[in-house]
Every structure is written in C-alpha cells, then in structure tokens.
Symmetry: C2
Subunit: 393 residues, 2 copies
C-alpha cells in the first residue's frame, strides 16, 4: 500500500510505563485537507479542546498522539502541555502550530509528563524517515490486544489513490466514539465540503454504530487527512468517483470499527444487532443500541444463553415505538419469537447452537414501519470486569 506524501514515526517517551512506544507522529509533506469529529462528552480532554479549535480552518499537516495518559481533567496545566508539545513538533517540522493536531489516550486526571514528552520529540521527528503506519497503530494501543489497521485503493480518472487508517479502542466504546481514536489518511485530492460530508456519513454508520459498554470518553477523536499527492483530478460530489470514494472510506472505517468491537475488553463474542420494521431509522437505532448496551443481554451472550426475552425487554425500554404483539426475533436464521411470543418447536435448541458461535446476528423486527439500523457489539464477560477493576494498577 503506497500512500503518497505521508511519513510516520513512533518512540518510547515513558509516558506511563517504560518499554513500549507511546508517542507517535503522522506527517504530511504538504498541508492536507482535513476534518475531525470529537467526543460530545461535556468533559473534554485538553488535546480535544485544542485540536477542535485548530481544525476549523480545514488544514492539517501533522498529528502528535500519545498513549498512557489522556490529558483529561488536567485543567490549565494540561492545556499548556498540549500547546507546548505541539509547538515543539511544529518547530521541528517547520510548519505552523495550528497545522498540528494533538490527541491523547490513557488514564484520566493525571498530569502529563511534559518533560519526558519534550525530550522525546527530536527522536520522534528523526524517525519519520523510517517509520510505517503500523508503528502508529502499535503506539496508540492501551488495553487493545492487537493493532488495528485497514487500507483500500481506488481510482479517480486514471490515477490510483489510497485510503488507510488506524484505530484504538477496547473499553469505553460506544456511539459517539468513547475512548476511541482513529486516524484516517488518504493521498486523494478531494473537494473539501464533500470530504467532510462523506467522512461524517462514514463515521455515523461505522464508529457511531458500535458499542462495548455504553460509556463515552473524554478523548474520542476521529480525524481524516487527505493530502492530494496522488495527483488525481479532485473528487467532487455527485460523480462516479465520489461514490467510489465514499465506498472505500466507509469500508475502511467499518473494518476499523469492527476490529474495535472484536477487541472489546474481555469480549468473547461479536454480535451484529439489526433492527428492522421500526417506525423510523432513529427508532431502529434506539432499539438496536438498547439491546447492544444491555448488561443483561450481554451477559446472556457470554453465557451462550438464548434468552430472547431479555432482548424484547431491552427493546421495550429503548424509547422506540413498540407494539409487543408485533415483535419478532431471529438469531442468525433461527426464528426465536414471532408476534411477541416464543416461536416454539426446536427454536430453543437451535437458538442455543447459534449462541455458541463466536459471531452471530440478532435481528428484531418491530413490525411497524420501514426504519432499520445495524449496530455491532460484544458480550460482557468476567474479563471485562477484571480489566476495568484493575485498570489503573
């Protein structure tokens, strides 16, 4: 995968624990067209506040990201660290401060080790000559058990371009991207307003359609940078090229989102929750998220228990319009319930077999309208509790 004009670097700054790369840099040789979505949590980390302010002009040339410390609930001191570290990077790269995005993930409420980060920046910039996107994927991991990357190529006119991305997730994942970081890069030339629309749509059906535990972090960020160095004719909306770009962008984001769910803390199952027949798409998403966030449903997944009643209960309190006598439910192709009651026959035995699979789908038809939604989630296991009970120690 060749993504023209991007350079990568990652180093050990000993931000939390020595012995792993925890500070990373993505650099575009020319200013890239960029946009981002950030957490909607009212408690926002310093790098989120700074990056959101900077990205308004739509141009980004570098991203400085660290793991091990979220730089959240750190007040003025946290803002100063975010500004100063990004200034050092800007100086080293010879670009304006405002062209540097900053991002952090890790423990909340602990001040950043600014000295160690500042000391590591020269080596970080030095490393740009030899780093890869994989280094970035590794350096942003926290409780993730594997690095998350995806890439696709497409053509605009005669020119081939690429879209690639990295992500980190694991715990605290839910719509609006709780403690999720994802950075997408492309060498395509894309019309700015269209880039933003395509990006927001892709985020909505990927990162905003996954949930692990219903919590939402202070640091969520999804950023895209498109630097145009592939040399393609600029992709404009309403063309065959724009549809192709939307598709590859969506594919990259959905792949990253699914990787996050599969690596959900303690997850042993990957479940696609599909709601159809809702009064509206919004109702369908409400019902699907209610199922996907229910602790009782998720522990039943973990227990491989075809407890379909809990799923109807979760639909019932979701806020979606529901007529219980019209509800039906399938686990994969096994009809568990129809018209609100158990389907009978061998549904219990067959449903239990489905629940033993590592991946399966739950499909609820509300029987009311044409609204649909799909979300992706994991189960709630003993390991989720262990990981999160001991996270800071």
């Amino acid at each position: 995968m060749d993504i023209k004009g991007f350079q990568f670097s990652a180093v050990e700054a000993a931000i939390k624990k020595p012995g792993r790369k925890d500070l990373a840099l993505i650099f575009s040789e020319v200013p890239a067209q960029a946009c981002a979505v950030f957490t909607v949590n009212a408690v926002k980390a310093a790098p989120v506040l700074l990056s959101a302010e900077r990205i308004r002009n739509g141009r980004v040339q570098a991203l400085l990201v660290n793991s091990g410390n979220a730089n959240a609930c750190t007040g003025d001191q946290g803002m100063t660290v975010a500004r100063e570290t990004s200034r050092l990077v800007a100086e080293g790269l010879g670009i304006p401060d405002e062209a540097v995005q900053v991002s952090s993930t890790g423990v909340i409420g602990v001040q950043m080790p600014a000295d160690r980060i500042m000391a590591a920046v020269p080596a970080l910039i030095e490393g740009l000559s030899s780093g890869t996107l994989d280094d970035i994927a590794q350096a942003i991991m926290t409780t993730d058990t594997f690095p998350k990357m995806e890439a696709r190529s497409a053509r605009a006119g005669d020119i081939s371009y690429s879209v690639a991305g990295v992500a980190k997730g694991a715990g605290m994942i839910m719509p609006n991207m709780a403690t999720m970081l994802s950075f997408i890069i492309s060498d395509a030339a894309v019309e700015p307003v269209f880039l933003e629309t395509a990006f927001r749509n892709a985020v909505e059906s990927s990162f905003n359609a996954i949930t692990v535990d219903g919590d939402m972090s202070t640091n969520d960020t999804c950023l895209i940078m498109a630097n145009g160095m592939a040399g393609n004719p600029t992709i404009a909306p309403g063309t065959p090229e724009s549809a192709e770009f939307e598709k590859v962008l969506h594919d990259v984001l959905l792949s990253l989102a699914k990787q996050i769910v599969k690596d959900g803390e303690g997850a042993t199952k990957f479940v696609e929750v599909r709601v159809t027949g809702a009064a509206s798409n919004a109702d369908a998403k409400r019902a699907a998220l209610s199922i996907a966030n229910s602790s009782l449903v998720k522990t039943a997944f973990f227990g491989q228990d075809a407890n379909w009643g809990r799923i109807f209960a979760a639909v019932g309190y979701s806020g979606a319009t529901v007529d219980q006598s019209r509800l039906s439910l399938r686990f994969n192709d096994v009809v568990m319930a129809r018209n609100g009651v158990f389907a009978g026959g061998d549904a219990e035995a067959r449903g239990t077999e489905v629940m033993k699979l590592e991946e399966f789908s739950v499909e609820v038809d509300l029987g009311l309208g044409n609204g649909t939604a799909t979300v992706y989630t994991s189960d709630l296991s003993h390991d989720y509790v262990s990981i999160n009970a001991d996270y800071r120690t």
Copy 2:
C-alpha cells in the same frame, strides 16, 4: 407489628423448580384503598396489563403473586392464565375478580404452568389463617439472597397504625423499578387522592433512585393497599398526621429500596451517589444516574480503585449542563478533585481507603446551581456476570 385486617399465605406450586414456596397471597378482610405504579417498559407482562386495568377504581382486596415465571412475552395465552388464576382466587375468597391484583417475576418468554398454579390455589387460600408477611417476602424471591421487609408504626389522633412492606429485586434494577416487586400494606385510613400523591412521591425518592445494572424489566410493580382497619380518623393532606404518614411511608420504601441495592446481583459495595450544585434537580438526577449506571465506574468500585476521572467522564456524558472547570468530587469526606482537576496531596491514598469500605458516598458538586439528587447503587463484580450468564440454567 400488628397490621389489622391483613392475612397472608404462601405455598409451593412448582412453577419453576420444586422445593420452594413460589405462589403467595395477600388478603385484606375489607376492600383496601389502593394504587400502584408499574413498569414503563413498552413490553409489559400479562399480569401488569391486567393489574393496571383493574386498579383504576382504586380498590383492591387481594394480591396473587408468583416467582419463577414472569408471564411476559406470553401473548394471549399469558393473559388468559393471569385472568383465570385470579378468578379462582376471587371465587375462593368470595370477592369480585376486579379486586384481585396479579403479579409475576421470573424468566421471560415461557408460558405459565397454569395447571400447577390452579391446583395450588385451594391450599393457598387455606393457608391464610396461619401465614405471615415474612412468608410473602420469602415466596417472591428470585435471585435475591435474603428476604426484604420493613415496617413502621405511627399515630393518627389517638390511634396507632402501621405501614409495612416486602420487596424483591436483585438484578435488572434501575429507576422505574426494573424487575422489582414491592407490596406495601397499611391498616391506616387515608384519603384516596392523598394516598396516591404520598405514594408516588415516596416511590420517586426510593425505588426510582436506585440502580443496579441499568436494565428495566417487563414486570415492575409497586402496590400499596391501605384498608383503614386501624380505625383512625382518615388522614387528609396538609395536616400533621399527613406529614407523619408521608414520613413513615417514605422510610419503609427507602429501607426496602436500599435492601434491594445491597442485594444487587454480585454486589460487594453499597454506594450513595449524591450530586449537588446542578442547574436543576432533573440535571442532578441525570448526572447521578449516569455515574451509578456506568460500567466503568462500577467496575472501579469493585476494584476499590479511586478512579475519579471515570466519574467526571460519566457526568460529562449524562446530558446535564456541565462546566468541567467547576467540578469537584468527594469520596466520603475526602476531596478527590476540585475545579475539575485532582486535589493533590494525599487524596489518592485517602480516597483508596474509602473505596475499601463496604459502604461509602460519592459526592459530585457541579458548581452551577442549587439542583440536588441522591441515588443508590452497587458495584459491578465477577459474580454479576456469573449470575446473569447462567440465569436460565
């Protein structure tokens, strides 16, 4: 505790498993003034639908309740069972069908063993001569590890009266009373409209202020019956007697609510979450519930980890108006954070000591206004996962 004019009975009907009492009856010798609140889940169990319809006239003389089967997601057949079993009880007691409330708790989506229940009704009625309220508390248990009862006495004029109650809860508890049943009886004479107001207020600050896992069931019911057989002058609103009645009623409900939290599935901690300084009381309750329902906060409680950042994160996504630079937080009397940042000093060590207690309080001051709210919750432990992964087996 003498509660005049009430009789109790419980028998084994082998509804789910033999060997335990699972069918119970409360009978008032005269029709009682009554009101109830039911689940707001759109998927409602058959007994909830039937009881809600019947209680509109405000008079109840008997309650038939079973554990082991929720009679939810059971369609027309479930409604028929609820009607027929209550008819048999009404006949046996010589009262109208409409004076019988029915209530169920247990597994969802399985048809009731109507024959076994019908066969047990004669013995159930027979047993009224010798049963106690404690028998009811025992018979309604599901995953509860102890029966939940409370009683208080007070005076109206020269006459002493009592308010007593039983409850079952354990898992699936959250505001609006998910899989929670509570039955309150009193021999006081109470003016009907005042009874309803006092009851709804008491429910709001007790059962609707507790949360274990954020799920909400299909069967929640809280019912009060006041039969007037103490012979007191009828308690009317705006009198010293009404204030006294409100107090004892609240005390009984709050005690039962706290017992439910302490018996939350797998719970090892009892935590009072208090939010002050909110822009409104509604905002304060939103923030308090967001903290109390956060899987990440609750696993930190279980891990005895003074991870205050997660609490601020939960406040941030609660929907309450929040200015992160004004947030402060205490664990008991230990100030963990102020002005949105760590309080420093020995707060970490002292906060960790608080988290080791079985009971402690978390107090967040939003620093914005005068809104306050208190909710009660438990932690999220390995045992919660075990209990709910294996619930049906």
